[in-house]
Every structure is written in C-alpha cells, then in structure tokens.
Amino acid sequence: MNKLKVLLLSMVLALVSIVATQAQNNNQQTIKIKTSAVCDMCKTTLEKAMAYEKGVKSSSLDVDSKMLTVTFDARKTDANKIKKAVTAVGYDADELPAQDRAYNKLDDCCKKGAHQ
C-alpha cells in the first residue's frame, strides 16, 4: 500500500513537472533584432549583456547579418524591453537607435562602419 502511494505520488509529480515544462515552453518566445553590431567583440559584449537581462533564456548574434536572436520568457519580459537593453549596450535595435553614452563608450572597433 505504502509503495503504491509512493508510486502514485511520483507519477503525479512527474505529470505536473511535464505540464509545467510545457507551460514554460509555451511562454518561450524568440525574436530577431537587427542590430548595428559589427565584430566578434560586439558579439561577446551583446550576448553577455543579454545574459544579464531578466527573462532572457539565450541569445546569439550573427555578426555577418547583424541579426541578434533572443529567446525569452514572455511572462518576465517582452520584445520592447529587450530592444531597449540592446540600445543600452550601445547598438541600434531595429528602429531604435543606440543610446549615445553607451555608444561612445564602445571600443573603436565596435563602432558603426569600423569594418566597412
């Protein structure tokens, strides 16, 4: 009897956790943002900044296309907040321009046109 209880409980727990994971997956969204990042150093800076943003699960910048792909938890943040965070690091995010002070602080090799 006892064993059965334990088995049943563990099955319920397993089910709950599966549902929970699915719920999480449902809340997960991915956006692509066109940035002004130009080099591998920008990639490091930007991905690091994203890692410290609330709700961001993962991020990846494709240097050639300047596209930043961000996966986030929609319950904790939204696309606008993420774009704002990108501008706060010193890069354009789609239609939003980079914040001046942050841009000025970037290394010269990370500034727009440094690699044209």
Binding site: M41, T44, T45, E47, K48, A51, Y52, E53, K54, A88, R101, A102, N104, K105, D107, D108, C109, K111, G113, A114, Q116
Partner: protein, 734 residues
C-alpha cells in the same frame, strides 16, 4: 564514373573562367587612394599597403595615392595600415583601383577580450603585461597594494611589523627602482614612497600596465627595473555610478564611489572617492603589538577630459589625507610609555595633458604634459621623529612625427623637473632642491611586418649632479605571428631618498648613520624575453620566459649587516647586481577554467663593507599558481592563488647573543581565494587572504622591550595578521 566527371567539370568551368579573367589583371598594377574617415576627403599620407602575407608593400604619396604591382603569390587581399588607424584587409580580386577609407583608432589600446586572463601584450615593444579591471576585481579591495595579488611579475611585501608600510618589488629590486606613473605621468615619488601603494584605490583604476626592464626615455631617467603605469578611469568611459563597499574580519572598512558625467559633447568628468577605515585593535599573535595599524584615509580624485577634433586635454586633481597609528596595544598618540608609530600625511597633486594632432597628418602631434604635487607628513617611530615635505613640478613637451613614412617615426622633446625635498629625522635636517632641464629623442623603426626597434636617449642637466646621459634600446622581433622575442637595455639614474626608502629600519633599535656624501644611483639593466602564444584543444595559452640583469655603477647601500645596532648608508664600493629569471605558463585548461603558473629565481647581491652578500629579505625561489574559474558571462567567478616563498637571508639588529635569532627565514605558502556572483547591476564578492593562516613566528624581535637594544620589527618576511576573511559588494550604472 562519367557522372562524377561531369560533377567536377561543373565546378571546374567557373574556376577556369576566373583564372583566365585574372590573368590580364595580374599583368598590371593596383592603384588607389587611402582617405581619412574622420576628415572626409582628406588623403592619408604614408599609409602602408601590402599584399597579405608578403613583404611586397608600398606607401601612399602626398595625395594619398599608391601604386602596387601584383605579387607572384596568389593572394588577392591587401592589408592597409596606418599608425593610429584601424587596419583593413580588403579583397581586391578583379579590381584595378580601389579607394580605402581608414577609421581612426583614437586610443591605440589592445583589445582586451572578456574572459581572458591577465595577458602579455603581443603589440608592445617592451615586455608588458596588462592587469585589467576584471583581474583587479579578483583581489581584495581597495588599494594598489592588493592589485598585484593575481600577478606573478610584481610582488608586494610588508616592510615592517608595525607601521603597515608596503612596497612593490620587481626583478628583485625595491619598488623605488620601478617608475610608478598614473596615466603616464610620474606619480607618488620621493617622500611618498613608504605608504604610496595605499594612495591609489583599486576602484580608481581602469587597468595597470607592467613593463619589465628598460622602457621609454619619454617618462624620464628614473626607471631601472621597469615601469608600473596605472590607467585611471577615463571620464568618457567611466560608469555613471559605481559603488564598492568592503569589510573584513579585521574590522577594516572601505567605501568607494565613482561618478561619471558627460557634461557636454566636449567635456566629461569623473569624480572618484575613496575612504578606508580601521579602528579596531587586534593582536592575534600575542606579542603585545597590533597586527595591523589603525588607519583612516580620505582620498578624492577628480578627472576632466576635453576633446574637440584635433585637441584633447585631460586635467586631474587628487587630494588625500591619511592618519596611521601602529604599535603596542595600549599605545596612544603622544604616549611615551608604550612603543608606537604614528603618521599623518597630506598630499595634493594635479596634472594636465594636452595634445594637438595636425590636420590631415594623424601621425604628427604635439603634446604638453605638466604635473605638480605637494606632499607633507609628520611621523613618529618610537621616540624618533621623522617629518618631511616635498614640492615637485614636472613639465614635458613631446613632438611626434614620421620620417618619410610610418616605418620611421620619432618622438622628440624637452623636459624640466623641479624637486624640493626637506626631511628631518631626530633633529637632523636633510634638504635638497633639484632643477633638471633635459632633452630627449626616440626613434622608432618598424619594417611594417615583424621588426620594431626603439632607440632613445636623453640628456639631463642636473643642478647638483651635472649632465646625465641615459641611452635606452628596445627591440621586438616576431619570428612568427605567435612567437615573439624582445630585448631591452639601457641606463637609469635616480637620486635616492634613503630614509623614506628604509622606513622599516626606523621600526628597530638601529641608528641611521650616514658615513659619507651620498651620490645618485646609476644602473644598467639588460634583459630579454621570449613569448610563445599557442592554442591547444581550441583554447588559448601563452608561455613567457624572461631574464633581466641589473648592475649598479653606484648605489646607496643600506647596510644592516656590518653593525647590528646601525643601518649605515654609503656609496657602493664594489659590485651590486640583481639577476632575475621568470617562466610563466598561462592556459585555459577547460572552457572557463584558466591556469597560470610561474616560477621565479632571484639572485640579488651587493657589497656590504667589502663583502659581496645576498641582499636581505629576498627569496631565491618563488612559485606562483593562479586558478581562475568563471561560468559563462562571468555570472559566477572563483579564484585561487597560491604563492610559495623560498628561504630568505635576514640581517638582525641587536647584540646577537641570543642563538635563537635565525639567519634565515622559513619557506612558506600563502593562499588567497575569492568567489563572486554578478547580477545585472550588482555584484557580491567574498574572499579570504592567507587561507592557511600562516604567520611568521615572532615577527618582532625584542617585542617585550621595544625601547631596548634588541628591538627589531623590520625583519618581516611572512604574513603577520593571519587569515583574513572579507566580503563586499559592487553596484554600477553604466
């Protein structure tokens, strides 16, 4: 089989077409122009254009135009470079003319990639190491003395067991032989020496460059073993707000606040505030003396930066006040009953650096660097009073340009130094006023691929010691992209401040005896290094080994051997040398896990009263191992540093009748560790210094009778305070 062939031909055809198309081009020349992105339309004169991977190169003429014949090799990429600009690699396949626009690289700094250990620079002509902000955060807060904890080249040692003074050592030589500069302006020299490492907060610092061996003549004639250049926070790039609070188990508290403001497009400023407080007396080794002196410091640094086109100007003002009190547990200021040391220091200094870059000639600039300082202190060591004041002013004018093209550049200039030093030790007054006008020239040859030679010389006209000539040479040869050889040789000259550089002996029964008129110190230093960068399993590493030999033509010898109750100062009569060998390996063993291991050998000897003997307090052998661990994006970081100190010779004061006074120290280990967790704006850190709780047994000889003849607190070779646990937090708004 047939289908295979067809597949090949499918690829071959365009390739053939391409080769055919390329043939006519190869017979011709590539022409083009290089222009300046900062001044649209302005040509760049003297830029270098080379076929990638070859020495086949040319430079642009007065109109920025160039003509380059096609090489024999099959490269289609050209490398366009110019001093002060970002290098560009361009594919010119099929092109006969090209216009290249170069972006200025206003600060020629090396890109310090996040996640890397303290690195040996691959770019500088000198053997240089960079301690980045990230490295600085690994050591306990908050002054320069702690900043070298994770670095193998510079050691920090406590000079005595009472006053808390600390000194750096490089190549086996005292910190006095290392030129300390802040933003390349000589700083904290002369009478500031005893406590100078406390006068720069770690939170003021952006990064530290350590140059081993002879450096440039531009910064003066004084450096002998090397240069430590502290780059303070740049107002343009400083955080808007940065707060760092620190406390440790000895009840020492530090508070730091930095504020950065971009006032307008041209002006920016950074206000850096620091205070350190220790008001708790502790005596864990039960010798009746406080393990650490009480201390109260207030330190303010304000930097301004103006940049407008070709003009850049920087201003800085620093003011500090520090009180210290060390000695017996019941010692109070003014007490004659108990032994103690007190010191009150006030210091104010300022500097300005202004440079102008010529229009359309980014290689040509003129700069004026001026600085002034006032330093004053009153101190007491037991019954001995030691007071001093120093006024110092420095002026340098530097002109920089090229000869023909950027393969030949030079820097020439004039300098003037004023130094007014007055000391009073137990009633005896020592005074000197120096006026030193000088001129210097440095020529830099660069073959644009793998050889750089910097040859410099300066002539200084010292009002007290006549004309001094200081030649210096630095050579860097990149045998391959990852293998670098460096050579440094030259002469240094300095006027010693024997009391300020030997305050440790004030904390003993020794009398200071000057047997003759002391002459300036003069030394040759020659050395070289070999650096090999490598990649193993996809992760970077570096192996660096160097050897330096310093030989003194004159030295102010502080002789503690000859007469037990005296420290005798006299000019060197005989040999004095320091030879230093170091081998270091850095490697990222696993992703995020860095290892740095170093071994050092020192042989430092001087002639004491006719006998060539090893200098006291310098171990022959040292090991250093640093393990650094970081999770992705540095969210968690952990660091562990182990140092091994070999046996050191000692020179005890007193009558020596007690046989238990060892002639040598013990060998021992010191382990420091830290762990930190970063959030978006917050960072928490906690660590431990001297984890093994190793303490030098009875660091104070004759502690029971501090006014007696056997008292000596200067033979400190190991930690006094034992294990110290600390914690703190950082908060920043960028």
């Amino acid at each position: 089989m047939k289908s295979h062939f067809r597949n090949y031909s499918f690829y071959l055809l365009p390739l053939l077409l391409f080769i055919v198309a390329a043939i006519p081009a190869a017979a011709q020349q590539l022409t083009g122009q290089v222009t300046d992105a900062a001044n649209p339309g302005q040509p760049i004169i003297g830029a270098s254009i080379a076929w990638k991977g070859t020495t086949h190169a040319t430079t642009t003429n007065a109109n920025g135009n160039f003509t380059l014949t096609f090489p024999d090799s099959l490269t289609s990429e050209i490398v366009v470079s110019y001093v002060g600009y970002v290098q560009q690699i361009i594919n010119v396949a099929g092109k006969q003319s090209v216009i290249v626009t170069l972006q200025p690289n206003s600060n020629l700094k090396e890109v310090v990639v996040e996640g890397q250990q303290t690195r040996y620079s691959a770019l500088t002509t000198t053997n240089s190491q960079i301690i980045t902000t990230r490295d600085l955060e690994k050591s306990a807060c908050c002054n320069l003395a702690e900043s070298f904890e994770t670095n193998a080249s510079v050691e920090v040692s406590t000079t005595d067991a009472v006053s808390g003074a600390k000194q750096i050592q490089m190549l086996g030589l005292d910190g006095a032989y290392t030129l300390l500069t802040t933003d390349n302006v000589p700083a904290l020299q002369g009478l500031a020496t005893p406590f100078r490492l406390n006068y720069l907060s770690g939170t003021f610092i952006e990064s530290i460059d350590i140059i081993k061996g002879m450096g440039s003549v531009l910064n003066g004639y004084e450096s002998i073993s090397g240069q430590v250049n502290v780059k303070l926070k740049d107002p343009e790039k400083a955080e808007r707000l940065y707060v760092n609070l620190y406390g440790n188990s000895q009840a020492k508290f530090d508070a730091n606040v930095n504020i950065g403001v971009q006032v307008n497009k041209q002006w920016s400023t950074a206000l850096l505030l620091h205070t350190a407080q220790l008001h708790h007396r502790s005596d864990r080794n039960n010798d009746g003396f406080m393990d650490l002196p009480l201390n109260s410091q207030y330190n303010v640094y304000n930097k301004w930066k103006y940049s407008n086109g070709n003009w850049v100007s920087e201003f800085g003002v620093n003011a500090l006040r520090e009180d210290r009190l060390g000695g017996q547990m019941d010692f109070e200021k003014g007490s004659e009953l108990y032994y103690g040391t007190t010191s009150e220091t006030e210091r104010i200094s300022g500097y300005n650096k202004t440079s102008y870059t010529f229009d359309g000639k980014p290689y040509q600039s003129i700069g004026l660097i001026s600085s002034a300082s006032h330093h004053e202190f009153d101190s007491k060591y037991g019954r001995r009073e030691y007071d001093g004041s120093q006024q110092n002013a420095n002026l340098r004018l530097i002109f920089q340009s090229i000869i023909g093209h950027t393969g030949h550049t030079y820097k020439a200039g004039l300098s003037y130094t004023y130094d007014d030093v007055e000391e009073e030790l137990a009633g005896a007054v020592f005074k000197r006023t120096e006026h030193v006008p000088g001129a210097f020239l440095e020529y830099i040859y660069n073959n644009l691929s793998n050889l750089t030679i910097v040859a410099g010389g300066r002539a200084d006209f010292h009002n007290l010691y006549g004309t001094v000539f200081s030649p210096r040479l630095n050579v860097k040869f990149d045998a391959t992209q990852n293998t670098i050889f460096r050579l440094a040789a030259g002469k240094g000259f300095r006027v010693a401040n024997p009391i300020a550089e030997n305050t440790a002996s004030l904390v003993s029964s020794r009398n200071f005896v000057f047997t003759e008129q002391l002459q300036p110190e003069e030394a040759w230093n020659i050395g070289g290094s070999f650096t090999q960068y490598f990649e193993l399993g996809g992760r970077p590493g570096a192996f660096i080994t160097d050897y330096y030999y310093t030989t003194f033509r004159n030295q102010v010898v502080a002789d503690m051997y000859s007469t037990p109750n005296q420290v005798r100062f006299y000019n060197l009569d005989g040999r004095s040398f320091a030879s230093s060998f170091q081998a270091e390996l850095q490697y990222e063993v696993l992703k995020g896990f860095d290892v740095k291991a170093a071994y050092k050998y020192y042989d430092v000897q001087a002639t004491y009263n006719g006998d060539l003997r090893r200098k006291p307090m310098i171990p022959e052998h040292r090991f250093f191992v640093n393990l650094g661990f970081a999770t992705p994006f540095d969210k968690w970081r952990a660091d562990l540093t182990t140092q091994y100190f070999g046996i050191m010779p000692l020179a005890h004061a007193g009558t020596h009748h007690s046989a238990e006074l060892a002639e040598k120290s013990d060998a021992f280990f010191v382990v420091n560790g830290q762990i930190s967790r970063a959030f978006k704006r917050w960072e928490l850190y906690s660590g431990v210094e001297n984890l093994l709780n190793y303490r030098q047994p009875s660091p104070i000889v004759g502690a029971s009778n501090p006014f007696g003849p056997d008292f000596d607190a200067s033979m400190v070779w190991g930690p006094i305070a034992g294990r110290v646990i600390y914690a703190g937090l950082r908060f920043r708004i960028n």
